[in-house]
Symmetry: C2
Subunit: 149 residues, 2 copies
């Protein structure tokens, strides 16, 4: 017998088990992270919005598409996020004097303050997400995931 009966609980075709697939597990882990994130930031910021503020804080004013590339958001998605952040006064956009195609995105004072307030929260979110793992496992996980990104 190739498979011990009654031991594993999810038999399918040719040994494929949805619950063991990397894509399925990734989605569940991401869901848990999202839940932790919104418990910490509340309705204030979503994870992509936080990424946008944090990266702008780090890089200074950046063209919209370039900003999206830095945080892995495509042109359509970063536009929506910047629009919403701008409506709320965290970012502002202006034409690039050197390139009429470009829109430069910058933090407002309120956006800078929000970013500075966010770093502590964001750190806590990462810690809580990784809480089931010890320090060695955390380092392993990050290394393995980075190899796959």
């Amino acid at each position: 017998m190739a498979v011990a009966p009654g031991k594993k609980s999810e038999p399918t075709v040719a040994g494929y088990t949805l619950d063991d697939q990397i894509g399925f597990i990734l989605r569940k882990v991401s869901q848990r992270h999202t839940a932790i994130f919104s418990a910490a930031f509340g309705n204030d910021l979503t994870a992509p919005q936080w990424a946008t503020l944090a990266k702008l804080y780090e890089m200074g004013p950046t063209s919209q598409n370039q900003l999206g590339r830095l945080i892995a958001l495509d042109a359509a998605t970063i536009k929506g996020i910047v629009d919403r952040l701008s409506v709320r006064g965290f970012t502002e956009t202006s034409p690039d004097p050197d390139d009429a195609r470009r829109v430069v995105v910058a933090l407002t004072d309120a956006g800078r303050a929000e970013a500075e307030r966010g770093f502590a929260l964001a750190q806590r979110i990462s810690d809580e997400t990784l809480a089931p793992l010890d320090a060695t496992q955390r380092a392993q996980l990050i290394t393995l995931l980075k190899a796959m990104s």
Copy 2:
């Protein structure tokens, strides 16, 4: 000096580096998986749609919310997915005779055929997603992620 200048490339506040955060890395890894998935399945099925067919194949007819719970999709999301799969003839729904609240979701013959065709593709997608890692690393990663889900 606490931090070697010029060594790390992403200095921010209090040592927080967006690019090293678990949430950010998870999003990028998920993006890569999504790209691999749609390259394999084309416009045929999305990952949640595949999860739905695969789980139905495994479990047989299941109430809609229960099905969603098994694959980590909330009631609103599983409804949309089942609706779309039903329009395309892969699933069908019927009232549960034992509980008037429930809707039972089942595979059609076409859905069963699609599922059987999909297992090989899905296996390939998982392999390709994990391709940067060797067998030991793959097992480690899956173990660590499962501990976090």
